[in-house]
Structure formats: C-alpha cells, structure tokens
Symmetry: C2
C-alpha cells in the first residue's frame, strides 16, 4: 500500500467519530473534503470478509452535506444537474452527477429531498458548496446554501437490518432503497436512509449534532455486539466489485456523464432548466469519445497504483488510463476501472495495461463484470 | 507532532516535484488542494535555522492557479474581492481576500495580473475555481475560468537573490516585491515573482508544464550548491513569527476580513462592484465582534494542538479559540494566533489558554509581536 505520514492541523478537520475509530484500531486514513476518513482496520481483505458476513460501522462524516433551502431551492438544484430532481419525492434520495456548463462533472452526490424547498447534497470530494453558492449568487436566486453540521455514520453489511430494527424498531426494515426516515437515536435527531457506499446493503445515519458522535457510535456498537459488529470503512475491494465509482479517481471535471457511464442517472430531456443541456444533447448524438469501463487484468496481484497506468491497444498506442484497481477476492483476479477510447469500450475488447512498466493483458467487461 | 498514515490514491494528486522532495528526505506531509505538500525534512527547528541562513527549494505546487481570462476578467476578479484590483498592474501581484456576499472569506490568494484581461489566483486550500466558475456562469460573464497546469516552486531564504541571479541573470535582483517577470529556465517558460510564504524573502517560480518538475528542481539545486541550498517547506515556526495566516486554520468562511485583521488588504470604498460591499460597510462602522490576534503563551513548549483550544477571560468565560501555535525560536516562548472577542483584542490584554486541560496565561501582542 502506498502511504505517507500526514501532519494534522486545524485545516484538516477531525470527524465526530474520530475518537471511536482510532480506539477501534483504524490504521490508515485518507482525507476527504478536508476531513479525516479512516480507511483501513487490519486489512482490506479481513474487513471485506467481515463486511460480507456481518455488520460494520463506517465513519463517513467526510461525506459533508451541502444544504440548499429557500423558495428557489428546486430551481437551483435542477440547474446544477441533468438528473430530473422534480421526480424526487420528499423522503427520497437520488444519485445525481452535478455538471458545469461544459458538461464536466463537479461532483456526484446523493441528493436528499428534506422538504419541497430543502435539499441536502451528500457530497464526494470537492467543494460543491462553493460552486453552488457562486451559481446562486450569480443568478440572484432566493436560497441559502451552506455546509450543514451533519455527519453520516454508515451501517453496512447483511446484518444491518437486524441491528437497525433493534435500535429504532421494526419499521426500519420497511425503509425502501434510497428512502429515508426521521428518528431519534441516542437522544439526538437523525435521518436514516437505506443507502451506503458498499455492495452489501445497509443504512446511512445522518447525525445532525457533531458533539454527539461518540453517543451515536456507542449506541450502535452496543446494540451490534450480538451481530458481531465491527468497525469498517469504504472498502476498496467491495466498492470496485460493486461497480461504485469514486469522484476524483474514476471521474473528474474533465469527464462528462456519458464518458463516466452515468446515462442511467441523467435525464437529458428533463423539463427544468439545467446548465449543460446543449452540451449533453450534442454528446448524446455524437456518442462519447472515451468511456469509463470495467477491466479484468491478467496475472498475479499488482502493486498499488501511484502514478497513472496507461492502457494501450495491440499496436502499443496509448488509448486510456486505469483509474482504480484492486485484487478481487470474488473473481480471483485484478479488477479495475479505466477510461479508454471509444474504439475499445465494448465488452470483450482486449487491451494492455502498463503497470509501472509491467505489461499485462486485460479484457473489458460489462458493468456487472460479465462478458458482453 | 500529531500525525496519521495516509493512503494515496489518484484522488490525492502528486506534485511535479514529488520525486525530488522524497529523494531529499521529506518525512511528513500535508494535503492541500488535494495535492501532496511536503511539510517537514528532519525537523521544523533544523529547517528553520537553515532557512534563516541559506536558501531552500520549496515544493508548493499545491498552491494551484485558477486562471480567469476573457473580456470580463477584471470585472469578475473585482466582483469576488474587496481589494481594488484596478490598481494591480500587469506584472504585479496582490494579496486579496476573496469574500462571498456575506463577507465570509472563501480563500486568500495572491492574484497575479498576467495581462489586462488575464489573472491567476494563486490559492490557499479551497476550491476557488468552483466558486468563481459558479459566479461567472450565474452572471453570464464573458470569461473562461479553469485550473491551469501551473506549479510554483518557491526559492526562499537570504541567499535566494544570489541563486536567482546565477540562474536567470542579474536582473533578478531588480524584481520588486510582489512583481514578476517572464523567463525561460530549464528550457521551459516560467514566471518568477518576488514573493513566498516565509519571513526570509525570496521568489516563487511558476512552472507551466508539470512534466518539467524534475528539470526545474535540478537546475536550481545544482546552481544552489555553492549557497548551501537545501530542501524546505512552509515552516510553521517561521510563518507564525512572520505573522502569515493560514486559510482553513486561522480564518475560514465564517470570518470576514475585519475579524481576520485584513483591513490593509481591502478597499471597502473601491469603485468596482464587489459582492460584499454592503456587508463590509456595516462591519466597518460597527467594528468586529471578534478578531484574529497574536498571542504569547506563558510556560514551556506546549504539545501539538489537535482539538480546539479555548481561550478564556479571567472569570473563566469562553472568549475565543487558538487557531495556530508553535514554540518560537526567536522569542523563546509559545506564540500563537487566536480569534478572541473584541473585549480582549487590544494588545496587552491577558487571557487564559486551555491547552487540552492545561491552563496557561497568555498576552495579546501587536501583529509584529510587540506590546501596544
């Protein structure tokens, strides 16, 4: 694993759950929205095996919430994404790429509709708040936009339903996918959504008072003992196997939703105004020049990727780059995401990955890791 | 020193100078604008002593450049800051707090005027590019706003002039403070400004091709051998002694320029439109409710600060927080920045600092560390 020792300062914000994650043995960290994100307890492999069988608490407070509230909240939220937000009911979540006027992806949050005129954008790693504030100011819209004091704690794994039912009652089992309820847990109001950045299912609990981090953690921890609860984190193996893309690694502002293979999460013809409509209409007609694809890479486990790994065609021509990779325990091979030229985006295409000088054959797979 | 091991991924960008900084013994790092920033070689103390006597190369590529170019570039740049940018000549730099419509500080870049209608914002740690893009889009301004491929290498210390004169010629000595010139160094075009985040003077060299990081480093390194050149980094001791504030630590979006003691860098009555004029006019009349001040803290060297340290008055009432602190080699005491209520902002005021439960007396100093 490629790691560096990081000095902490006030600029790099602690999470409300930090004390508990360190007590529980977090050993490796990342920074996400300038907040500490515990990434590894023991190892990715052990944590993956536990996640697939039991239930874990994940400190994902770094998924900050950008609140948009006011008479123009819907209009503004529609403006910044090609997803049709008018279809999002109060109490519902929607995954929505945010796109600038060129179609470049600014972030890919889960949007929670809290009220007709109130939204949270549960964001990936970029200052969405600043962008949305700028757009709102520039347009003179009647909204307030700010980062709310909200810190998600994810409860992930096959026993998450049992644990949540014990904590908030049997109605927890009835929460549908990407819906949320209000509840009071550890004497503090929370929102509980059936969502989370794993392939194993579960919930995200939105703590709304950062001084209550230990209380919330302890309540789920104690209730979870009978389910073999453990500390966990977004797991590299699980998330790539589940096809979950990471903003900043697998897509950036240099990619549009077609390149990032996000067609199912946009509605180019939606009624509301959005800033990249003209660009996306053209892109839809022309088709993407390059595309994010799934890859199986032959051979033994590859070293961690630090610099970009080029992808080449049979003639050795540079046709793309690998964006994330891991050794899959499920498939017993190296799996990866890569952005490649359209010529090689079809499932079944074969390419070569240049892993720091080591050449490996690779095959493009469907987005569920099958062949075409 | 409070540190944690960080996992690297594509999301956390390498600097063009990273190979050289690691070869030269960088041991501790930070993340700044999602880019790796080497912070410590050996120790703050040794690096400080070297910096005050010789010359150092600093990898500050993480000071990313937000480029604003186009017919409305000046209008937009004026809009986002209370500083009078019309007074900035081509070839000049200006330190300028960027403020939202509430007066909250978004960032505090050095603005370089490259042409009448072209600026770089050499930014601190927040996504200024997204905010400015949002404002420009919302207002429908005729500009392009993007992060340029520009990576500053700082040359800091008393021998910086000698080194720069050897590399680009004697005219380097004539570059005035906060002015820049164009030059070609290591066969690549750069801009060289007399600026930098130390109290020891020097230059910042703006590399405009990230593939040339090693070449640029090596050229200055070889030429610097006779001046006892060393690797360095923004030094916590030097920067607090020099009164340099760090955005994200010493001020945030929750502070306005009066609270952040930045009056000398704003022109509330400037002619051009800017978004927080009404707010600043009111604040100027009312005076700030709290203010960033310099503190001497009594007693021995304090442990590194991880959680907020409250500042209290004689009655024990919470009146502020410490934002940065270090043991000063120059003054032989703990020196700090703190935001305190207006009641205690005058030089000579005494307060108590609660350093993780350890109470220490402290005295407010002038911003040059003298008494009033």
């Amino acid at each position: 694993m490629s790691t560096l020792p990081m000095i902490l300062s006030r600029r790099l914000r602690p999470s409300p759950f930090e004390q508990r994650t360190i007590e529980n043995g977090a050993t490796l960290f990342s920074l996400y929205n300038r907040m500490i994100l515990p990434m590894v307890y023991e190892s990715y492999e052990k944590s993956y095996e536990h996640l697939c069988k039991h239930v874990q608490l994940w400190d994902v407070a770094c998924q900050r919430q950008v609140e948009i509230i006011g008479p123009d909240a819907l209009r503004l939220t529609e403006l910044i994404t090609p997803r049709d937000i008018s279809q999002c009911a109060v109490g519902q979540c929607m995954y929505a790429p945010l796109c600038d006027e060129h179609g470049g992806i600014i972030n890919d949050p889960i949007i929670l509709r809290l009220a007709q005129d109130r939204f949270w954008l549960s964001i990936a790693d970029s200052d969405v708040c600043l962008w949305v504030k700028g757009v709102a100011y520039g347009r003179g819209l009647a909204v307030e936009v700010f980062e709310a004091d909200v810190s998600p704690l994810a409860i992930q794994g096959p026993k998450a339903d049992d644990l949540m039912a014990d904590v908030v009652g049997e109605q927890a089992r009835d929460i549908r996918f990407f819906r949320f309820i209000d509840a009071t847990v550890a004497d503090t109001p929370v929102k509980i959504a059936r969502s989370g950045w794993s392939g194993q299912g579960g919930f995200e609990v939105y703590l709304q008072d950062s001084s209550k981090g230990n209380d919330l953690w302890d309540l789920f921890w104690e209730a979870g003992r009978q389910y073999n609860v453990g500390p966990g984190a977004p797991n590299l193996i699980d998330r790539i196997e589940a096809g979950l893309k990471s903003y900043g690694s697998d897509m950036t502002i240099d990619n549009n939703p077609f390149e990032a293979a996000l067609e199912r999460y946009i509605d180019v013809d939606k009624d509301a105004e959005y800033m990249c409509r003209d660009v996306l209409l053209k892109l839809r007609d022309a088709g993407p020049a390059r595309r994010l694809v799934n890859l199986f890479i032959d051979g033994e486990d590859l070293r961690p990727m630090r610099s970009d790994w080029p992808v080449r065609d049979a003639a050795g021509k540079h046709i793309g780059i690998v964006t994330s990779k891991v050794w899959s325990l499920k498939f017993g091979t190296n799996i990866a995401f890569a952005i490649v030229n359209a010529s090689h985006m079809a499932a079944g295409s074969t390419v070569t990955v240049d892993a720091d000088g080591e050449l490996r054959l690779a095959t493009v797979k469907t987005d569920t890791w099958g062949d075409a």
